[in-house]
């Protein structure tokens, strides 16, 4: 594990690196915990996740003690008969062994675990009464995110990248229009399923700024594996600036090339699935691309949002995520360049 952490910290990945924790002090802190990673439930960034991580460490200690206890009993028992003489326990001794090991110990452990479990469970299940509301809709195989105001009206729609203010709870309303998914950002909160026909509620709150990764954790079909998202926790002002930008329609193309790119977007059929507010608003199958250029990743947090990856994704999406709903689009190189320029202008 240690070697692994060092290696992955030193290696400059060709992919986007989600974790800001590679700076030396944070990195050492993570090493001391023995684990690292932007999707690691043992590297909590919220009170809920920290409570659960502590619960785990506590249970690990108790579990290890029990395991060692059982093995010691087993080895002593076997060892007493070693060497050829029968030395069985008296029936009273056996009875006491069974009562102590098989009844009293598990009973105490269970009681402790249930009490702690219920109290931790109550704490993480107590939903905040204020804070931004995000509607999370599971799609095949990406996440639609709608920021709602107090009346339930949609402020802004985006995909796969949730921004939240640091230190403020964010309420989540989780649902699906197709199959069951599960929303899970391990550093922030336990998972909650997205079930068609019902709206589940959950909440997240990040205690420190950073980028946290999450992933669908209920098997949902062929691209379940690459249905990820990121949560960007940032200071309140930045979050508000981001949100008001997301609420805007798309920027008008300002150069010839971007204007041509917009034409390509409409002519190549992209608009059949994708919405760009102020350009075309009929597409519903793929993510809203109104502010695509501002996002850090593509294809549900699978590849970084660079021009090269975007071009590769548009030309052959089935290579990056086989089986996903986006068809390959064959177009003239000049058209592709124009389209990339246009999409790149959608800040």
């Amino acid at each position: 594990m240690l070697v692994n952490s060092v290696r992955s910290a030193l290696r400059f990945s060709r992919r986007w690196r989600p974790c800001a924790g590679a700076t030396p002090p944070a990195f050492i802190a993570i090493l001391l915990q023995g684990c690292s990673g932007a999707q690691n439930s043992l590297d909590p960034a919220s009170r809920s996740a920290a409570l659960i991580a502590n619960l785990w460490w506590g249970m690990l200690v108790i579990g290890t003690v029990i395991m060692i206890g059982v093995l010691i009993a087993l080895f002593i028992g076997l060892g007493r008969g070693w060497g050829g003489t029968e030395r069985p326990l008296s029936s009273r001794g056996s009875f006491l062994l069974v009562v102590a090991g098989g009844v009293v110990t598990p009973m105490l452990v269970i009681m402790a675990m249930v009490i702690v479990g219920v109290s931790v469970g109550r704490e993480i299940a107590t939903r905040p009464q204020s804070g931004p509301i995000v509607e999370v809709i599971g799609r095949l195989w990406w996440w639609e995110l709608r920021y709602l105001d107090g009346d339930g009206e949609v402020i802004a729609t985006t995909a796969n990248e949730m921004h939240i203010p640091v230190g403020q709870p964010v309420r989540l309303r989780l649902t699906s229009e197709n199959v069951i998914h599960s929303f899970w950002a391990p550093q922030l909160q336990g998972k909650t399923d997205l079930i068609p026909g019902q709206v589940n509620e959950s909440w997240i709150e990040a205690e420190r700024a950073g980028v946290y990764r999450g992933q669908c954790s209920e098997y949902c079909g062929v691209q379940h594996a690459l249905m990820s998202f990121i949560v960007v926790a940032e200071p309140l002002e930045e979050f508000e600036r981001w949100l008001s930008l997301q609420a805007e329609p798309a920027t008008e193309p300002s150069s010839d090339e971007t204007r041509r790119g917009q034409q390509v977007f409409l002519e190549q059929g992209c608009a059949g699935c994708h919405t760009i507010r102020s350009v075309s608003e009929v597409g519903e199958i793929g993510p809203d691309l109104t502010h695509l250029a501002g996002r850090r990743t593509l294809a549900a947090a699978t590849v970084p949002n660079t021009k090269g990856h975007l071009g590769g994704w548009i030309s052959d999406p089935q290579r990056i995520k086989p089986g996903n709903k986006m068809p390959s689009t064959v177009m003239e190189p000049a058209d592709l360049q124009a389209l990339l320029a246009f999409l790149g202008s959608l800040e």
Binding site: M1, S8, R15, R17, C35, S36, G37, A38, N40, S41, A49, L51, I52, L55, W56, M59, G63, V70, A73, L74, I76, G77, R80, T85, R87, P88, G93, S94, V98, A100, G101, G102, P106, M107, I110, V114, V116, G117, V118, G121, V179, S182, P186, G190, K191, T192, D193, I195, P196, G197, R213, Q215, C216, E218, Y219, G221, V222, A225, T302, P322
Partner: protein, 637 residues
């Protein structure tokens, strides 16, 4: 009804060779190609169940190794996502439905009648029917993989993903119909085991003298009877949703996806204990043999089995903690789930007390049992952990869970099962399995198992969900996955070595004799492999360890007066096993096989057209009629 003569003390009752020949030919199974489809004897059927189940075990195990190769490094493209999804669906389904239940039932079918001292199961033809149903259903299900149309919705097949809209094609259809079909086989075996155990025990084998393996088979059978209908109902509803457009599970039209989860797990959780329970029985069988003294806490062990059977039905919601059910209700299931640790703890410590200070023979069967202790306790502890709701919300549907249930199922069920195979192999085939190969295979399997599955705990905590065909490099899961894959090769080598050992020993193993281990139970009181009629005389039992009780005595009391020219068995009372009737068992026939074919035509045909329901229904009705055609056995002779 024949009159049963009371045993006379000291009189030695022996059979003349002619009598034995007559008895043997009465209970003989027909030979030849057509004869292959006719036998009804419990040992023939039981052996077929076990062998078929192991074929599925190795096939599904091969799929697991292929999946491990795919996950060996990040962004591997060894398997396509669709194929990977088919593989884990078939792996899980086959291990649960085509291997675990049938192999346990097969062993019970083979061993229980001999252990309770009778000559066959209570309903021999139903037994045969159950086997063919299982064989056809399993072969069709696994065969779908060859045509690349296997289901890919996971072994618990959640709707709406398993609905016709998101899983078009035949895959899930095959899953639903074949699973329903195979459950019929499980139910027939369960009903038979219950009646056999309660009514066909040797005189004197009252309930409190029944071997613990028989107890575990009895509890298992009752659990099957109560659990299986839920999955049969659920998959029938899903078939209707898919084939004739009912909308029971579709939310758009008022259906309820969570209904599937409730029905599935109401079956699915007891299923785990259905698999575990016979393994616990095997452990309670092996330990006294290798310590050569009675087990400690017989009553506690029986009560633990029964308690597990009951509690097992009150836990299903712990598979659904993330679905948004009310907190208070879930807390009940959390407490109930953790409670299962008590009967399990009692059993583990009863076994430790039984082995305490004993002079033991560390032969392969016992090694596998000791391996169970290590692995199963780890799985039990992680089981209590995942019962705690907040923790479960983190690790549910991650590799932590994959680690947990493989610890429980492989450690809890497969290790004792293989130990049991080493233990009963001499009885089944008349030869010993090789000890040296057995020990090597144990160590390979034990080390390989832990190297494969222990790192998965950490992978789950690091955020790796289950059922993903690949993962990105920067998540840092590569090294542990590589380790797990290496472990899976060692584990596979261990199991394959046991397979090789079994095949090799068929013709090179040392002859076993009647009772190579010094066992206390009745199946060892007859030659190995046993003759067609199991026991020359139905024995009379006066204690929990009949073969030990009669050590040093020249003869043992037996039942006389049963005819040897037709298939007669002794029926005894439920509690005290007092003789009270003689039943005549039916002879071999081909009709159960034809009924199974007719029923499977109906089940499979439904996938193409609903009218096949009628074909299956009337076909089965007609063949059942032939099957039950009275043969007036009391006039034949």
């Amino acid at each position: 009804m024949s009159v049963i003569e009371p045993p006379r003390q000291g009189e030695i009752v022996t059979r003349t060779p002619e009598e034995l020949d007559r008895l043997s030919s009465t209970w003989e199974s027909p030979g030849g190609l057509i004869g292959w489809f006719m036998p009804v004897n419990q040992r023939v059927i039981g052996r077929r169940f076990v062998l078929t189940a192991f074929v599925f075990f190795f096939l599904a195990g091969a799929l697991a190794v292929l999946m491990r190769i795919q996950l060996m490094r990040p962004e591997n493209d060894f398997l396509s996502p669709d194929l990977y999804n088919q593989f884990f669906t078939v792996h899980g389904t086959a291990m649960m439905f085509l291997f675990a239940i049938p192999v346990m039932e097969g062993i019970a079918i083979y061993i229980v009648p001999m252990m309770v001292g009778t000559r066959d199961m209570a309903f021999p033809r139903l037994n045969a029917f159950g086997y063919y149903v299982y064989l056809i259903g399993g072969a069709v299900f696994f065969g779908s993989l060859l045509f690349n149309i296997a289901p890919a919705a996971g072994w618990f097949n959640y709707v709406p993903l398993a609905g016709i809209e998101y899983s078009p094609g035949l895959g899930v259809g095959i899953w639903t119909t074949m699973i329903t079909f195979i459950e019929v086989s499980a139910l027939t075996a369960a009903v038979e085991l219950i009646v056999t155990i309660l009514k066909l025990r040797a005189p004197g084998m009252s309930l409190n003298r029944m071997p613990l393996f028989v107890w575990s088979a009895l509890v298992t059978a009752f659990m099957i009877v109560f659990a299986m209908p839920a999955i049969i109902a659920a998959s029938s509803l899903l078939v209707m949703d898919r084939q004739i457009g009912t909308h029971i599970f579709t939310p758009e039209t008022g259906g309820q996806p969570l209904l599937w989860q409730h029905l599935f797990w109401f079956f699915g959780h007891p299923e785990v204990y259905i698999i575990l329970m016979p393994a616990l029985g095997i452990i309670s069988t092996i330990i006294p043999v290798f310590t050569q003294r009675p087990i400690f806490g017989y009553t506690a062990l029986v009560l633990s089995l029964v308690a597990t059977g009951f509690i097992g039905f009150g836990l299903w919601v712990h598979h659904m903690f993330a679905t948004g059910l009310p907190q208070l209700g879930m807390s009940f299931f959390m407490a109930a789930s953790a409670m299962i640790a008590i009967p399990q703890g009692i059993q583990v410590f009863c076994w430790i007390a039984s082995m305490w200070g004993a002079r033991m023979r560390f032969d392969t069967p016992l090694l596998y049992v000791l391996g169970f202790f290590v692995i199963f306790v780890v799985g039990g502890i992680s089981g209590v952990m995942v019962a705690v709701i907040p923790f479960d919300l983190q690790v549910h549907d991650t590799f932590f869970l994959v680690a947990h249930f493989h610890y429980v199922l492989i450690g809890g069920a497969v290790f004792p099962l293989i130990g049991g195979m080493y233990y009963w192999y001499p009885k089944m085939f008349g030869r010993m399995m090789d000890e040296r190969l057995g020990k090597i295979s144990f160590w390979l399997a034990f080390i390989g198992f832990n190297v494969t599955f222990f790192p998965m705990h950490q992978l789950g905590l690091q955020g790796m969900p289950r059922r993903i065909y690949t993962y990105l490099e920067e998540l840092g899961w590569g090294d542990l996955n590589l380790l797990a894959t290496m472990g899976s090769f060692i584990l596979a080598a261990g199991f394959l070595l046991s397979l090789f050992n079994a095949l090799w020993s068929l013709w090179r193993g040392a002859p076993a004799g009647e009772d190579p281990w010094g066992s206390p139970t009745l199946e060892w009181a007859t030659p190995s492999p046993p003759p067609n009629y199991n026991h020359a005389h139905i024995p009379i039992v006066s204690g929990r360890y009949p073969l030990w009780d009669r050590r040093g005595e020249e003869s043992s009391p037996v039942v006389v007066g049963l005819r040897d020219d037709r298939r007669e068995v002794l029926v005894t009372t439920v509690l005290d096993a007092e003789p009270h009737a003689v039943a005549v068992m039916p002879a071999p026939t081909i009709w159960p096989f034809i009924s199974a074919v007719a029923a499977s035509t109906g089940f499979l045909g439904i996938l193409y057209h609903p009218s096949f329901f009628l074909v299956g229904f009337f076909g089965a009705a007609a063949t059942f009629t032939m099957w039950f055609w009275p043969r007036r056995p009391w006039r034949d002779d």
